[in-house]
Amino acid sequence: MLVCACSIFVIVLFIFIILILRSQLSLHAFGWKFFTRQAWDPVSGDFGALPFIYGTLMTSFLALLIAVPLAMGVAIFLTELCPQPLRAPISFLTELLAAIPSVVYGLWAVFVLVPLMRDVLGPFLVKTLGWTGFFDGANFGVGLLTASIILAIMVLPIISSLTRDIMTAVPNSQREAVLALGATRWEMIRIGVLRNSRIGIVGAVMLGLGRALGETMAVAMVIGNHPEINKSLFAPGYTLASVIANEFSEATSDIYLSALIEIGLALFLVTIVVNAIARLMVWAVTRGAPGRAS
């Protein structure tokens, strides 16, 4: 039993050590500057990760911007407003969204979301928000914004189910106390529930962020796969995870492979830190209530 329990440590250590070992070449060649350079030229062996970092941060940020208000709405609806008989089916349906594999989201996005983006949503955004400068340039349907929308759909169930658990863990006496003072239902939610669960909610959002940072297949299928930094959200981009997925099997030179593994190492470390902080925050709030594996 103990040996098997230790295997979990071993796995994490093994991933860490092997990624460091195999990225030695690129670590030595570029050092810390690897993460601030824009070059990505496999032919001459010149590599830098900045465009991928930009793409990853931008898509994750936009995805959270779309997903968090919706997830909060769902969680509030499910814990405070929903009639009892509807509660289980609706939470089951939102969790079904989490069970759909990434590649199926990608398939759907390629054939349904991309044309929609190109012909309907894109022109609409240009007309209404074109002045902001975020929607310049040609709109092919694939790009940062399309990837962000699909990411938002994918992280939504994680954030909403965790937020729901956290809000359920708030004792009813808190709600009753606020209602007894004459608060409306919304004031009860705001004062009695949201304030008590804010740390946990931040944690849940960060777990969603961790998922968004590492999401690979669906993003690789719709982001356009072009390592450049462009202000326009229609422009094609690239993320840390999708560049590994696309170029790993084509990486012919050792330094190319090493650079991709270093990107993997960066992704590993960032998601470990984000997840660790998020877990601690969620634990701090739901401690005592029955926990859930997510």
Binding site: M1, L2, V3, C4, A5, C6, S7, I8, F9, I11, V12, I15, L19, A71, M72, G73, L78, L81, A88, I90, L93, L96, L97, A99, I100, P101, S102, V103, V104, G106, L107, W108, V110, F111, L156, S160, P171, S173, Q174, V178, T184, R185, W186, I191, N196, G210, T216, M217, M221, A241, I244, F248, S249, I261, G264, I272, R279, A289, R292, A293
Partner: protein, 302 residues
């Protein structure tokens, strides 16, 4: 369940705050507005699910025929062909992953719930398992590539290892939670009769919690069944029939990816059909698990 003391309440409610002094109709309006927004959000969230399922059935069902399940992919340009090799390949990889991942996961969960409760070491393992759960699957893919594939060749076995690593933390955590719902009185009763601890764990705790543990294993299984990224550099995929463990092997998610990103309409058609089959398998197992769980076989979990 611990009830939080109410002593932090007065600090939160400021009786002179602006919101409390606003007139009644304004507060009622905000209340209704927020209610409406929450309902709207729920509808918006359920919409993609409905749309995706609709498209899968609409585009996929027409391409599902016997050939899909019995033939290997046709050469480029030819009509027909199926995904028989991918379905069998997925089954092989998932079986390998389950054989490796589930026993280790359950054993680790038993340690956390029965032997290490409350110790610093157990807490550290629990925390690590939760964090490992959030590590992107592609990182597992390149790690296993570096360990088992680099310098050798792509294989079904490497794919199984990558998926097993992803199953372990999920299985561990659900096993632990299910064991935690077994009442202490039952354990004490057996221990009181002089039964050794290992025997108690094996034939009392594990047996009582087994429906929940099986549920957890099926959820972990469903989760990795659709994984594509870790298989890209381990199992690699294969257009031909192969059931050998030390050679590249086809897998359903990989084949969907290849077909979806390819240029041919025939491929797109097969990609939709493959996605429908994959999602069907996952949905059936998840739904069965949920029904099973809601029957009251297990309490506290999911």
């Amino acid at each position: 369940m611990s009830t939080q003391p109410l002593n932090n309440l007065p600090r939160h409610i400021d009786f002179d705050s602006k919101s409390m002094r606003l007139n009644h109709s304004r507060r009622t309006f905000t209340n209704y507005a927020v209610t409406a927004l929450a309902i709207l959000a729920t509808v918006i969230v359920l919409l993609p699910l409905a749309v995706i399922l609709f498209y899968l059935v609409y585009k996929g069902a027409s391409s599902l025929n016997l050939a899909f399940f019995t033939h290997v992919p046709a050469p480029v340009g030819e009509e027909g062909g199926g995904m028989a090799n991918s379905i069998v390949g997925s089954a092989i990889i998932l079986t390998l992953a389950s054989i490796m991942g589930i026993p280790i996961g359950i054993a680790a969960g038993v340690y956390l719930a029965e032997f290490g409760q409350g110790t610093f070491f157990a807490n550290a393992i629990r925390f690590t398992a939760d964090v490992l759960n959030g590590v992107p699957s592609i990182v597992m893919g390149i790690s296993v590539f570096a360990l088992l594939v680099q310098g050798r060749h792509f294989s079904a076995f490497a794919g199984g290892v990558a998926l097993a690593i992803m199953m372990i933390p999920t299985v561990t955590r659900t096993t632990e939670e299910m064991l935690a719902t077994v009442p202490h009185a039952i354990r004490e009763a057996t221990l009181g009769l002089g039964v050794p601890k290992w025997r108690t764990v094996l034939s009392v705790s594990l047996r009582t919690a087994s429906p929940g543990i099986i549920t957890g294993c099926m959820l972990a299984f469903a989760r990795v069944a659709g994984e594509t990224a870790p298989l890209l550099f381990t199992a690699l995929g294969n257009q031909f029939w192969s059931v050998k463990l030390n050679e590249p092997i086809a897998a359903l998610p990989l084949q969907i990816y290849v077909y979806a990103t390819g240029p041919y309409d025939e491929w797109h058609r097969l990609a939709w059909a493959g996605a429908l089959v994959l999602i069907g398998l996952i949905m059936v197992s998840v739904t069965l698990v949920r029904i099973f769980a809601n029957r009251g076989v297990l309490k506290g979990g999911s």
